[in-house]
């Protein structure tokens, strides 16, 4: 599913952000990447999500080498990946319209998109808040909305960056439970977190990223 080998990444100033990363994630697996701030977690997710072009090393996602993909294949790969970005901010419209916008933008017809919106909101438990202004949502519901947006187009890979940020302990556990519920079937999930891993996710494989290198699996 995902295979990373000898991955290096440096900033324009030559500061090494990722160094010799080797990683393998199987299809349907849920894996947690932990590490302190600025350890390279978000960058790693950006590289895996084909949002950032790799400099050195190999990244295979769905059997495709990200570094060698042409622009069109890169876009098609991005469409098979769902991303929850760090510090997610929803669009200033209702919960329903947030998800609808993404699905319509991806080329779904209104009826088709409507169906997918309801299914995704049902999955994340946001169906009752679908008419609420997304900017007025509570922190946990914002996370739910971000995850809804990431999964609404039925991706094969879900990359979630700092979903527990600013949440209370019970809310973190609830988000963890939601991720566990989604970890059925073909969906591969990678969660990056700087803090401690909530109880629901402790059973899953974890890697520790410190100063751009994997310290332990």
């Amino acid at each position: 599913m995902i295979q990373v080998s000898e991955l290096h990444f440096s900033t324009e100033d030559g500061v090494k952000v990722l160094e010799d990363i080797h990683l393998r994630v199987d299809q349907g697996e849920l894996m947690v990447i932990v590490g302190p701030a600025a350890s390279g977690k978000s960058l790693l997710l950006g590289l895996l999500g084909a949002q950032i072009g790799p400099q050195r090393g190999q990244i295979l996602v769905h059997g495709r080498n990200v570094a060698r993909l042409g622009p069109n294949k890169m876009l098609s790969l991005r469409r098979r990946i769902g991303i929850y970005p760090q510090g997610f901010v929803p669009l200033p419209r209702t919960v329903h319209d947030n998800v609808m916008f993404k699905l319509r933008a991806l080329g779904n017809y209104r009826e088709q998109a409507e169906e997918k919106v309801l299914y995704a909101l049902e999955t994340t438990g946001l169906i009752r808040q679908q008419g609420v202004d997304a900017l007025e949502l509570s922190s946990i519901d914002r996370v739910r909305l971000g995850i809804t947006l990431a999964i609404c187009h039925d991706p094969l890979l879900l990359l979630i960056d700092e979903p527990f940020e600013g949440l209370a302990e019970e809310e973190k556990a609830e988000v963890a439970r939601l991720l566990c519920r989604m970890n059925t079937g073909h969906l591969t999930i990678l969660v990056a977190s700087r803090g401690s891993v909530p109880p629901g996710l402790e059973a899953f494989r974890r890697i520790r990223l410190v100063d751009g290198t994997v310290k332990g699996a």
């Binding site: 991005r78 760090q86 916008f101 319509r104």
Partner: protein, 279 residues
């Protein structure tokens, strides 16, 4: 999908961006109107006429068989004459490559007497041709003064620059309120060219609208000018349907081009950090 996104982009126009777009459109309209003025103003022309004008000079073409001594003598004799103000010798090739020999260019003292002088030269043995050159007179038809032309030119430059500036500011405001959507589009794998196309299309639409409004105005003025010919004498072009058509086409093309250019200016803002999908 592009139509859906275009509607969404239009829906993101807020009061501030709308104000800038309105000003930009107005200035573009003014720019196009100035261009239209160039088309419509009766062209001031300068015609040159020699008809009925006094003779300025007489060209006396000499036979190539004449000896240089004869030519020298004629030169010395003619130069002394009171009815000749100036005399110079030139080679005939200077006027015509295929000609040979030489010629005297004679400036008569009194242009009124030039005709008799010319006929006298015609009678001289060794003169093969005499050509009388009348004075050229520039006839100016009424035209727009230079000041008006320069003013129009200044208006053109200032309106087009101000219009592009307003459009850019408008796009800046619009894209700021649409930045969340753009981030989401980029995150979802929507091609960058789609986003750029949306912005350029909006610019083209605004340019086209400004052009169409002006074309409609031109047509109305054309109808008005046909019924009030005298009142529109300065704008003679308004009476000419073909000129209206060509002006209309030019205005539409220019409007579209400048609208597209402003769209491209707007699209150049998309490189900002605000639109990066990842923090």
């Amino acid at each position: 999908m592009p139509m859906f996104l275009f509607r969404e982009l239009l829906g993101s126009i807020r009061a501030k961006s709308a104000t800038f777009f309105l000003f930009g459109g107005l200035l573009l309209f003014l720019f196009l109107a100035s261009i239209a003025c160039f088309f419509m103003i009766s062209p001031g022309s300068v015609a040159r006429s020699t008809e009925g004008q006094p003779i300025e000079e007489i060209r006396v073409f000499l036979s190539p068989r004449l000896s240089s001594a004869t030519i020298d003598q004629w030169f010395l004799d003619w130069r002394e004459r009171d009815d000749i103000a100036a005399l110079r010798f030139q080679f005939a090739q200077e006027f015509d490559d295929s000609a040979s020999g030489g010629l005297f260019v004679v400036t008569p003292t009194d242009p009124e007497m030039a005709a008799s002088l010319a006929s006298e030269f015609r009678g001289v043995d060794g003169v093969i041709d005499v050509v009388e050159i009348p004075r050229e007179l520039a006839i100016k038809t009424p035209s727009v003064s230079l000041i008006v032309r320069i003013t129009l030119l200044i208006i053109l430059v200032s309106t087009v620059s101000a219009s592009l500036f307003c459009f850019r500011r408008g796009f800046h405001e619009l894209l700021s309120s649409f930045s969340g959507e753009i981030r989401m589009l980029r995150l979802s794998g929507i091609a960058e060219r789609v986003v750029i196309l949306l912005v350029v299309a909006l610019g083209v639409l605004m340019g086209l609208l400004a052009g169409l409004l002006l074309v409609a105005g031109l047509y109305l003025f054309h109808r008005l000018a046909l019924s009030h010919v005298v009142a529109f004498s300065l704008f003679g072009g308004l009476l000419n349907g073909l000129r209206i058509l060509s002006a209309g086409m030019t205005i539409l093309a220019l409007g579209t081009l400048l609208g597209g250019l402003s769209g491209l200016l707007g699209a150049s803002l998309l490189h900002g950090r605000d639109f990066d999908p990842l923090p």
